[in-house]
Amino acid sequence: MSPLLQEILETSSIYKPTMMLVLDVRQVTQLEKLFTIEMPNGLSLGHKPGQFVEVSVLGIGEAPISISSSPSRSNGKFELCVRRAGSVTSALHSLNPGDSVGIRGPFGRGFPIDRFRGKDILFAPGGLGLAPLRSLINEVLDDRGNFGRVTILYGARNPSELLFTDELVEWETRTDVELHVTVDHPDNDWTGNVGVITTLFPKIRVHARNTIAITCGPPAMYRFVLVELLGKGLLEGNIWLSLERRMKCGVGKCGHCQMNHIYTCQDGPAFSYAEIKHVEEAL
C-alpha cells in the first residue's frame, strides 16, 4: 500500500482528503489543463501507471482523475490532466499555482508493468485517453532498455485537441519510438494523417505473440481498436484497456462504478480484454 493511502487509512476516515499544493497550472488545450501537485513533506504518492486519485475542491465536490505523470518522474509531485467537464473539474480549472486541492488515493489497479517487460509495447490512446497512458508511456521510456519495440498510435478529433504536443515532438524524434498521429478533422496547417485512429494500424507491423497493446479512449473507440488488435493476432490477455466510470468513492462502496459484478475502482480501471470480454456492461 502506498504511504499516502496508509495515512488516509490511519487518519480515521477513508473519505478524508489530504490537502496539497498546486505548484503549476498549464493550459494544454482549450478544454484541458495540466496540474502539477506537490506532495506534503514526507509523503509520496507511490502510484502505479493507470491508477487514479480522487481530487477535491472543498465545497464543490470530488472527482476521479487519472494520474498523468509516471512514477519514474514523480519526485514528490505528480501531474493531473483535467478536462473541464463538470462542476468539480470546472472549479479545478479556476485554481492557480499556490492554491490547494484535496487528494485521496492512489486508487484502483494500474497496469501490470512487470509483466510487460521484454515485450513490444503498442500504445493506442484516443483523445483524452493519452492522459492516463502518458504515465505508462513515460515509465516505459525511462526504462527503455527493458522493453522491445515501442509504438504509439494517437488519434484526436482535430489538431487543437492534441495533448502533450511537446512530448509528441520528443517521441517523434526518438529513434527508439515509432509514433503515428492522426486527426479526424484537419485544419489548414495540418500535414499529417487524417482519419480515425484505426486508419493508423495498416502502417505498423507487430510481432503478434510478443506484443502488449494498451488502449484508452472514449467508449465508442474500443470496439474498433479491439477489432484491429485482434485482427493483428494479439492475444486477448495482452490487450489492456483503461475504463472510465463514475468512481464516486474510490474505495469500492458507493456502487456508481460497477459494471456487472466488478467495481471498476477496485479491480480496474486497467483491465485486460480477456478479463472483461464476458463482462457485458464493460464496453
Partner: protein, 355 residues
C-alpha cells in the same frame, strides 16, 4: 448459550431502564404502518409489528451522514473527519433484516474498512426477535433462507406467549440482562413452550420461490438476455423506491455543502439508487446504464447473484418491502419465478411447491 426468560410484564421496566442509558430504536406505529423510530417510552414499542416501511439500515447507514467537515479559511487543519458514535440499541429486528445487517457489516468491513459505518456499528446493540408468522403478503423469507436468526445478534427474543425467551449472542447482549429486574432462569415448561413455538412457526410461512435458492445465481446467469428485463423496464417508473426500502441496498452519492460563511462546510453521503437514470453517467455525459431494463436487471443481479458471489451471503433477504412499495407491482419473487419458468423445460416442478 444460556437461555433466560423475561416475563412480558417486565418488558416495560426494562425498556424504561434502557432509555436512560442508550438511544433506543424500535418498531412503532406511525398512522397505519410501522417504522423504526426512537422509543421514548415503553408504550411506543410495538414488538408484535408486521413489517416496517424502512429497514433498520436507516440507523446503521443514515439516509444522510456527514463524512468530513471543512473550513477552507483554516490554514492548519482544514479538514476533520466526522465520526458519530452514540450508544444505540435497536429492538425487535426481524431475522430477514438481521441477515441484511450481516451483509452490510461485511461490505463496509472488507477492502477499505469504512470507519464511519464501523464506528457507528460498534456502538449498536442488536436485539432481534424470532418471526413466528408471515409479516406481509410480499415476504418470502422462508424461500431465501432468512427465517432463522444469523449469528449477528447480541440478544435474541422469542415470544412464548406470556414471556420472552432470551438468547444472548455476545457480551453486549449479556450486558443488557443486568438491566432486567424480572429476568429468571427457564423452567422445563419454558423449554417445552420454546420447542413448540419454534417447531410450529415454520408452517405459518410458505415457500414462494418455485425453485431452490441455491439455484438463483445460475438461473440469473442463464437469464441475462431474457426478454423479461425489457418487459419490467417498460413498467418500471425509475423512481428508486425499491432500492430505498431495501435492507441490503447501500449505494450512496457524496455531496458538498457550505454554510453562509462560504468557507465552512461538510461533505455528506446520501442514499442513491442504481434505478435513477443518471446513476452510471460520467462527467462527459456518457450513461453506462441508459435503459430502465438495464437498471432493473442490474438490481436483480446484485440481489440474486453478485452479492452471493462476492460475500457468500444472499443479496435479497425476502422482506418484500420493494414489492410493497412498487407502484407498478414489480415483485422479486415473481421476477425470479418467471425467469425460472422461462428457463425451465419442466414447468410441472412448480406443482411440487407448497403455495
Amino acid at each position: 448459550m444460556s437461555l433466560k426468560i423475561l416475563p412480558k410484564r417486565g418488558l416495560s421496566d426494562w425498556v424504561s431502564r434502557l432509555i436512560t442509558e442508550y438511544r433506543v430504536v424500535g418498531p412503532k406505529l406511525m398512522k397505519d404502518q410501522y417504522i423504526f423510530g426512537d422509543i421514548h417510552s415503553a408504550d411506543d414499542l410495538a414488538l408484535d409489528y408486521s413489517t416496517t416501511i424502512l429497514p433498520p439500515k436507516k440507523i446503521l447507514l443514515p439516509q444522510r451522514e456527514t463524512l468530513i467537515q471543512f473550513d477552507t479559511a483554516s490554514s492548519s487543519q482544514p479538514i476533520e473527519p466526522f465520526i458519530e458514535t452514540q450508544a444505540t440499541i435497536i429492538l425487535g429486528v426481524h431475522t430477514c433484516d438481521m441477515h441484511a445487517i450481516s451483509l452490510l457489516d461485511q461490505i463496509f468491513l472488507e477492502g477499505f474498512p469504512d470507519q464511519h459505518y464501523l464506528a457507528r456499528r460498534k456502538n449498536i446493540t442488536l436485539v432481534s426477535i424470532e418471526c413466528l408468522r408471515s409479516c406481509s403478503e410480499h415476504s418470502f423469507c422462508k424461500s431465501m433462507g432468512t427465517l432463522s436468526v444469523p449469528e449477528t445478534f447480541d440478544l435474541h427474543l422469542t415470544d412464548l406467549g406470556n414471556s420472552y425467551a432470551l438468547e444472548t449472542g455476545s457480551k453486549k447482549g449479556s450486558a443488557l440482562l443486568w438491566s432486567m429486574s424480572a429476568v429468571r432462569d427457564p423452567t422445563n415448561g419454558d423449554y417445552r413452550q420454546l420447542q413448540k413455538v419454534m417447531s410450529e412457526k415454520w408452517q405459518s410461512f410458505n415457500y414462494r420461490l418455485v425453485f431452490d435458492i441455491t439455484e438463483l445465481p445460475s438461473l440469473l446467469a442463464l437469464s441475462y438476455d431474457n426478454t423479461l428485463w425489457d418487459e419490467i423496464g417498460d413498467r418500471c417508473l425509475g423512481c428508486g423506491a425499491c432500492t430505498i426500502v431495501c435492507p441490503t441496498c447501500y449505494c450512496f452519492n457524496v455531496i458538498d455543502e457550505v454554510d453562509f460563511s462560504l468557507h465552512r462546510g461538510a461533505r455528506s453521503r446520501v442514499w442513491d439508487s442504481c434505478q435513477l437514470d443518471r446513476f452510471a453517467t460520467v462527467a462527459g455525459g456518457h450513461n453506462f446504464r441508459v435503459n430502465r431494463s438495464d437498471r432493473q436487471r442490474h438490481r436483480f443481479f446484485r440481489k440474486g447473484k453478485y452479492q452471493m458471489e462476492a460475500y457468500g451471503l444472499v443479496g435479497c433477504v425476502g422482506c418484500g418491502r420493494c414489492a410493497q412499495s412498487c407502484l407498478v407491482h414489480i415483485s422479486p419473487v415473481e421476477v425470479f419465478n418467471e425467469l425460472y419458468r422461462r428457463q425451465s423445460p419442466i414447468t410441472s416442478l412448480e406443482q411440487e411447491v407448497t403455495t
